[in-house]
Symmetry: C2
Subunit: 385 residues, 2 copies
């Protein structure tokens, strides 16, 4: 986990607002859900590897003492590892109060207890849009369109949407490896194709007991971008591709695209950028999830932007230029009080007037303020209406 130090906090606020402004213009309604969910919501949600990474919250008071005594469950809640599982729980809870179809935006931190490593954080922010109650590819098409437009609005151009369908992936796997009891294990191995060599993945699948020749044919079919599976599913994927291209979006069918989560049931997608070895956003259709919460199994489809990843990529100077910043440094209490009152009168919409005591190290103070985007650092004596 990490702190966000100035000027990044204000930058993040501006980036978040620009993205949410685009989503609002499409009619996505902002929701918030609690950071903590009951563990029974999070565990068994087909969250794949992420379920192993849940930060669990200790029961409190007498309840905890009781569990300790009898060796029971010590935790009753956990920090969410994504925004998708909480959304399904949310929709089930508020079904009657929501318009249907429901288009929803959700920007919030999620937590995963990963081993600390470069570029991976244990708290990070996702920015999701989802459509609940739309079974056709109109959902996929609008989610991709809105996400690409949001990225463009923060200055990230040149992205490509990589498309696949979980059902085609399963068809290809079963065509080459035979009927599978646990396709998820194969998916998890295939998900590593973008991080490791094809040989390593083949070796992992062979260790899993799969036919070596079949694995070879499977990986070769991927390399050739062959499409296997029900024609209507292929046609729908082609429909999404064509509609996005029709709007000038770069799209590529990627038969090796897996997505880590087990809950996806249909089309899946990621956004790639030529400057990055990982994707900026990912999502897909997960029609089955609502049923877990005793609600009708509404169709659901979503797209999630990795907020830290886009913040890394944006041109920060474009955001900083937005407002003029003036600092007024004062040498004593009297000056401070005089300038506080003056500044209030001078501060109009958007212009920053920062009245502050002059530091002993004037040079460092000036440098620090310039780094924070102050174009002028003036002495109190020269500050007037």
């Amino acid at each position: 986990m990490r702190d966000i130090v100035p000027p990044d906090g204000e930058l993040r606020r501006q980036i978040a607002n620009r993205i949410l402004d685009v989503y609002a213009a499409y009619g996505y309604e902002v929701i918030e859900t609690p950071a903590l969910e009951d563990l029974e919501v999070l565990v068994g949600s087909q969250g794949g590897e992420n379920e192993k990474l849940i930060f669990k919250v200790l029961k409190r008071g007498a309840k905890l003492d009781e569990e300790l005594e009898r060796g029971g469950e010590l935790a009753d809640m956990g920090l969410r590892f994504d925004l998708t599982v909480p959304l399904a729980r949310f929709v089930a809870n508020h079904l009657n109060d929501l318009p249907m179809p429901f288009k929803v935006a959700h920007l919030a931190p999620v937590w995963r207890a990963e081993r600390p490593q470069r570029g991976r954080f244990r708290e990070f922010t996702q920015c999701d849009i989802d459509i609940v109650g739309e079974a056709s590819i109109a959902a996929e098409i609008e989610l991709c369109t809105a996400t690409i437009e949001a990225l463009q609005r923060i200055g990230i151009d040149g992205c490509t949407v990589r498309l696949n369908d979980r059902r085609l992936l399963l068809a290809a796997v079963e065509h080459h490896l035979g009927q599978l009891d646990q396709p998820d294990a194969v998916f998890i191995a295939l998900d590593k194709l973008d991080k490791t060599s094809s040989d390593n993945v083949a070796a992992e699948l062979a260790r899993g007991g799969h036919d070596v020749a079949g694995v070879e044919r499977l990986l070769e079919s991927f390399a050739n971008a062959e499409l296997i599976g029900p024609p209507e599913i292929q046609a729908a994927l082609e429909g999404t591709r064509r509609a996005l291209e029709g709007q000038g979006i770069s799209v590529r069918f990627d038969p090796t695209l897996v997505r880590g989560m087990g809950y996806y049931t249909g089309q899946i997608f990621e956004v790639s950028h030529p400057d990055l070895p990982y994707s900026l956003a990912g999502g897909g259709r997960y029609d089955g999830m609502m049923a877990r919460f005793g609600a009708p199994a509404l169709p659901m489809c979503g797209f999630s932007i990795g907020f830290e990843r886009v913040c890394e990529l944006v041109d920060k100077s474009a955001f900083r230029a937005a407002r003029e910043k003036i600092a007024v440094t004062c040498s004593d209490d009297e000056e401070l009080l005089r300038c506080l009152a003056l500044a209030r009168a001078k501060r109009d919409r958007g212009t920053v007037v920062n009245v502050v005591r002059r530091a002993r190290n004037v040079r460092k103070q000036r440098d620090d303020l310039e780094r924070l985007g102050y174009s002028e650092v003036i002495d109190a004596e020269t500050f007037s209406l």
Copy 2:
């Protein structure tokens, strides 16, 4: 804990932005800190009763097994119960990268494991500004001015700042009850004066072993707003009062104002509103806190807005009117795809065009959309450029 259901999510975003825009205009820099802090940061932070309400996070993997075996500490981290303790830890960690004095804004959720009750949430949002490194009342004055301006900018007028000083409070208490080993216990009892009768507080203090006649005189001195204590501290409080009044802010000296947290060391303040039985914001000076983190004991002073409380109070219609919203309902896939493309061309800055499938219950869909602020719900057939 609770979900934020539309249209409240967008309303909260707009309110947060207006407040942060005011703070930005004063030169407060936005920071973020992780929701989870090491327990040793949170425990022993003089957070008063709140320290008992920390949600603690279970250790993970082998570490947990080890602790279970030897009956050790099961938790290593906790969810923050305020933003002040994390700020002190933040400043200690980043001292060299921050301008000094450092003016900082921090809007984020905090968690307290309170018993569920009406109007109290276990996750709620605070919006803090703090000044680090300013020992004079210039800090108090600016924090109060900026907070009142932020409240005005979201349409909350008629507020009063209630002022006190922890040192005067202590002087009054010791004047009437004698030297105290644990003044915090007395403060906690006095803090209830705004929630319960003076008689109940007197009874609690008497049960605590304090002289009944002394308690009576103490409460009487409060009722008469008598000032007791070092003249220079009285003069400073008067200086804050005068400066705020000079800016047209309503101020009242309140000798019974305590603030729950034990970490306050100087002037303390709350914002009251005539329509509310509780305060909208609270803060004060806490000069000692940095020393806990092995950093120099910099002067610190802060003011925190209770975000949910101001959201309850604002006139929601003033925020909703901000953008026009049009919904286009479609009967089939073909129409949906046609309108998605059309809408994109029509969507300009600020206007919402929400393309969505027509629900079976057309009446309910229209009602739901109108409740979300849509001024027009039109059929796809009549939608054109």
